[in-house]
Symmetry: C2
Subunit: 142 residues, 2 copies
DNA sequence: CCGATATACTTGTGAACGCAAGCAACTCTA
DNA sequence: TAGAGTTGCTTGCGTTCACAAGTATATCGG
């Protein structure tokens, strides 16, 4: 998943929004959950992963919940934590969104960078500070 | 000027804000004006350059004007356009901010990328869509 | 020279987001 | 085992932004 500049982000946002009603952040969250073990994460960890504040996560997940793409799940060992868990509908939407994303990115970047350069860019960006390690709390299979 | 990810941007923002009371966008605008011919630009062109909407520019410049860092100037040949012109105070602040920025960036990025890699990154980012060419309207020297 | 269209800018409104503050639950220390 | 501090989450509030609509000026076709 590539983190990109304002112009590209807005272009992507417009297309995702038109096609699926998702913002780029929505997509980022959904994809992160889809890739998480058991399709669920603590909200704190999710926040760190997608570079949102805890309050931002709360409100973003509110939206995804209303769309039925995500649901809450409790932690058996720590009553403070709530898991954000992706639903089946969420997985389908995530897959759609990923397809959109993958289709649009090369189209937008295509002209300006070669595939090799793009790879380099992704690598370099990935090594900047801001990647976060997730905490852990046991979660039994749904 | 490097366009960077959310985490770095927020870190920079915090420091600039503490030191000079400027957001990163403020800094970007001020520096752009400082580097512009005659220290002035049409607001439209400024907007395009710093990736803001026209309304965004209006409000951001409102703030900089109140701080006395920027002033309005009229165009003799087109009554629609207003120039944003940097003041002497603005130039001093821009220089301070640039020093801050240049000091902080390597400190934040230093560990993760070599100077060569950083250069590559800047080059690649610079070639992504989103750089804009400025329009032109004659402006006589203040 | 007059209407039609385009351009520069501002203002109203709403969305996204961070921060501060609050609450509940956990953990550590004595 | 009672406090004190920490952690996870939510809510209230302010800021920053884009988009839409409005105003003023410019330009162009007839």
């Amino acid at each position: 998943m590539l983190r990109i500049g304002a112009t590209l982000r807005r272009e992507l946002e417009a297309r995702l929004l038109a096609a699926l009603g998702l913002t780029v952040k929505d997509y980022e969250v959904l994809l992160t959950l889809a890739r998480a073990e058991l399709g669920a994460m603590r909200r704190v960890d999710l926040a760190e992963q997608v570079l949102l504040s805890p309050s931002g996560v709360t409100r973003l997940l509110d939206g995804l919940e209303r769309l039925g793409l995500v649901e809450k799940r409790e932690c058996t060992t720590d009553a403070r934590v709530t898991y954000a868990a992706i639903t089946d509908a969420g997985r389908r939407t995530a897959a759609d969104a990923e397809a959109q994303y993958e289709a649009v990115l090369p189209e937008l970047i295509g002209g300006s960078l070669t595939p090799t350069e793009l790879e380099t860019l992704v690598d370099l960006l990935g090594r900047l500070p801001g990647a976060a390690e997730a905490g852990f709390c046991p979660l039994e299979p749904a």
